[in-house]
Symmetry: D2
């Protein structure tokens, strides 16, 4: 069946599998001390314009979020996120499991409003009961968000300035960073990330890798972060699996190029959906498109194409998500057009 | 450089990479609901002789230990292990991080003594202060152990009987289960595991996979174990990466066959070490061999071959580990012979 | 200064201090195995109409909440509470610190709406992503609530029926249970609690004791709850301190009688506030009264009487709380009248 | 029955009950912001010779240990203690419950050997696998120890110097600090503690209070320690209960004077035990005395006097503990003499 359910339906970009195969019988040290991991880190730091920073390669998104957040927070601190933030909803309480509360703000098309962040932090500091409450310890946002929307340079800069002014780092969940950066609506590049947040990660799982998220600490990692990664069960014995993948993705900008494919296909997808008169739930400039389907129609086409059921819209309609990816082909869009 | 440092120096068995490549562009559902994962689970349960059991595919060993242990224990319980048990030493406190104490017994060549376990559990239950102490909640052993030694069928049966009589499950860390089962000294097979413990895992990372540990619950998994896996950051979005690997390893007994290679090479390694008059620290029937090297000699050969420094022996000698693996060749053993 | 800031401004009821003094030099066993603790438990169970239940005496409210909640939940579960619930706001993340998320519902004058609970639990079970989310594990409400409001018998019965139907226990935080039960608007007594929830506690700290909360498990406590209490640092060595206090409070219904004083004084307080034309923020039938003060007026009277600043109302007004207690006298109400 | 089972069999020193009664109806702010708590803190800091330090009043020993340890450690760190240390044995895993491993060293009559600490810390830092292991984060010792033994000034100074040289604070559990300081064998006073460790607490529960442990941070508390205390459920709403007690204990050196009584009675107890020819298990210079009783004799006298069964000695003998306290009278010692 044709799947537009998510951006991780296929395996890896063929270059990655080729490189894994080519290097397969080299004997390499474990836990990330192999030359491919070293090379991947160097290339990532170069692409990010912060050669003095540090990179850690972890396996998955939930794991990366809970590991980084636990490393950045003290026990009495929580993570500020919007109510639809991935850490607060679909990570099975992984952040709370490490002892930290997720403090929620309203969301606006999946985004955090700088004014609301400022108001929240000021109120938290002024609250006469503040010593009886969880202290805000970091600010968490996603680029792109759960709704496929993106922050502009100015918006991220504002969030960072506010967070920093209150003594908090800004952490950007970049599980879909590639797709955000490839969007024509995005007004900055990967080398700007170091200025727009304090720590972020570059998602591999959803952008061409079998697995892997590269955490970038532009100003250096928290002390003993390696041990923290191990303690979270996030340290891969065969670090080469992550090293080779990110080394490949950051050679000749493969990461950027394949992310662009998803955006181009998403534009075609939008055109198809509009052509069919399907109403959009919201406007997304990236690879996730949210539309409103009449329920019986949804059921009918659901037999031929996979999409993700997001939330009820009204009694007879449902919001669903169609996602393109690095692997989506024009042919698949065309087939979808026929089905719709 | 020639590496005998560990059993995870190479990538994956070529069949695995071939299957990953062949299936790469199939669109599959995530989080383990793909047909390869289903097939892998079916084949594993069949090999283990417990078709009614449940299998979960996790990524790495430390992660699997802390996830399974947390799922089996209540807050007031701890895991009983020998003092050299992996969970108590080299997992960065991952078990404690989830709130549970590792309760330690003496080790005997890396193994737990059934009599000592019985005495410990009886004493714990009879202790007048027992309500002020951590309650033993499960028994953890490794097959093979940190020293490459293995439990016999009778020994495991005894440990399980004792643990169960005291109301505790026996959990076997099988990161190197393949090598244990392939040893000529092992008097049982994988289908016996269901009778010799309550939960165990089949290590992929060290036996031919890029990553992956298959947890087998012969009598069914703890409630909502899927959510527990997610909460621990151990759920892979592209579950296919684990599914294809274990499906391949459990097709035509590839897992058993490649494990046997490590044991055959280990026998040749033992012969070479003996030929060179190098004294053994202990006798191991599996793929890890521990010998005592004079320090200056160790340094000299260390320039040509990698091995793992285990512990000081005396002022002028050191215990080191040589490990073979599924990928070790006769040629490599021969080269080592020349170096030594 | 005259304080109406809270219901724990004074020490203990004089009978308690007298009994502590009288029994002071008796040599008693520790950790709650003294006869006063035994007697207190027996009297509480009798008052609650569940002689077969179990009672544990803990020290404070936040401690009791986090200990009981951790004992009732499995790792993958969270506690459902309204957004103003004490556990989610003013307990410094104590519940999250033990690894559990607080799942929030809207509040209505501090109360949980049964219909909204039902809708939430049904949605949680029907959510296609439910396995990636925290499972609701118990329902938490307070009687009386943070706003001094109370649940009727029918409301609690409905909440319990809904929770139980979904497999969850209903836990009632009774830090102010005495004041709730003493309210003329409360249509049930302490002996009904066993039918209206699955576990609750009887607050001593705010109703006449120096410290202490008596947790009642009508159908028996979770396994090894004593050890759980110890693990949470909530076990008092000199258990007599709690035993003597609750034994005194539950002799000749002292608890009920002194709670009634707070309610009578609150009625007089309401009359004074109305007489002075001070608008109420909401109607509360218990010992906490919330009114709206103009800011300059608030500042002025604040020099003579202590009250609790609750939240801003608008730019020039603030919501403040006046609380009466078991110790409040008519004279104090009269003095307040003069100040206002 | 005559009890020598522990040092918390009686209530509080009568002066404490008197002061609680005298101040009972004063209206005071909660959570430790009352004048008695302020006064207690000031007097403690003065007695300790560190007026610039900070004091926090907590309720019990296990609670204080887990709260302070969690506040001092980062997630990847553990607490170094001897194998009989209270935190590792009789606190129900409260330290592990907060995510931290207790790293154990051998004990020598309950004490930590400076040489062994030094060797352990050096080995931990030199271990090639150190990044895969829990990092030592603080050193924990008790004064007096579980066996009633005490550290000399020189021993503590050495432990502190070693710990600090390796970047770790030394934390002294002073649940029985009063009895240690009152011992004629102790060669330093309470004002020396600030130089001999980095943080310590002054036990009230076992030395005359109903409850309460005063944590002293000579160089200031960890950031937001108040919130940490609250998060651990260790913050008392009626802080006056702790404030009045410690204020009384530190007025006219009541704490030191009543501790001295326990030591004087212990000397008499030793004389009685020797007179009766009962062999000592070890020599203790404080209020806990450990002797070896023949089992049938033990059973017989156990009907008339309470003592604590410590551990089996051999098949027909048992080690038991007799403890004196601030409240023990000469008359009680005499009665014991008659029973023995």
């Amino acid at each position: 069946m044709l799947l537009f359910r998510c951006d991780y339906a296929e395996g890896a970009h063929p270059d990655i599998l080729r490189r894994l195969t080519e290097t397969n019988f080299e004997q390499l040290d474990g836990y990330g001390s192999d030359p491919y991991t070293e090379s991947a880190k160097r290339k990532i730091l170069q692409a990010c314009g912060c050669p003095g920073g540090e990179v850690y390669l972890l396996v998955g998104g939930t794991q990366t979020n809970s590991t980084v957040i636990a490393a950045l927070l003290r026990d009495y601190e929580g993570a500020v996120a919007v109510e639809t933030g991935h850490i607060g909803v679909h990570e099975a309480g992984a952040v709370e499991y490490t002892g930290h509360k997720v403090l929620t703000l309203p969301q606006h098309l999946g985004k955090m409003d700088p004014g609301e962040l400022e108001a929240y932090l000021c109120a938290a500091e002024a609250d006469p009961n503040r010593d009886h409450m969880v202290w805000p310890g970091l600010v968490y946002v996603s680029q792109s968000t759960e709704y496929g929307t993106i922050y502009t340079r100015e918006e991220l800069a504002k969030l960072k300035a506010i967070a920093n002014r209150h003594g908090l780092p800004l952490f950007v969940d970049g599980a879909r960073l590639g797709y955000a950066l490839a969007s024509p609506k995005c007004d900055f590049g990967i080398a700007d990330m170091k200025d727009l947040c304090d720590v972020f990660y570059i998602g591999g799982t959803k952008v061409g890798a079998l697995c892997g998220e590269a955490v970038v600490f532009p100003a250096g990692a928290p002390k003993h972060f390696f041990t923290t990664v191990k303690q979270h069960g996030a340290l891969l014995a065969k670090g080469r699996l992550l090293g080779v993948q990110f080394d490949t993705l950051f050679t000749d900008n493969l990461y950027g190029r394949i992310a662009a494919n998803a955006i181009e296909r998403a534009q075609e997808l939008i055109a198809v959906l509009k052509e069919k008169g399907i109403p959009f739930f919201l406007e997304s400039p990236t690879n996730q498109q949210f539309v409103i389907l009449e329920n019986s129609y949804m059921e009918r086409i659901g037999r031929q194409v996979g999409f993700d059921i997001w939330q009820p819209y009204d009694e007879s309609h449902t919001v669903v998500r169609f996602a393109t990816s690095w692997a989506t082909t024009r042919d698949q869009i065309e087939k979808l057009r026929e089905i719709l």
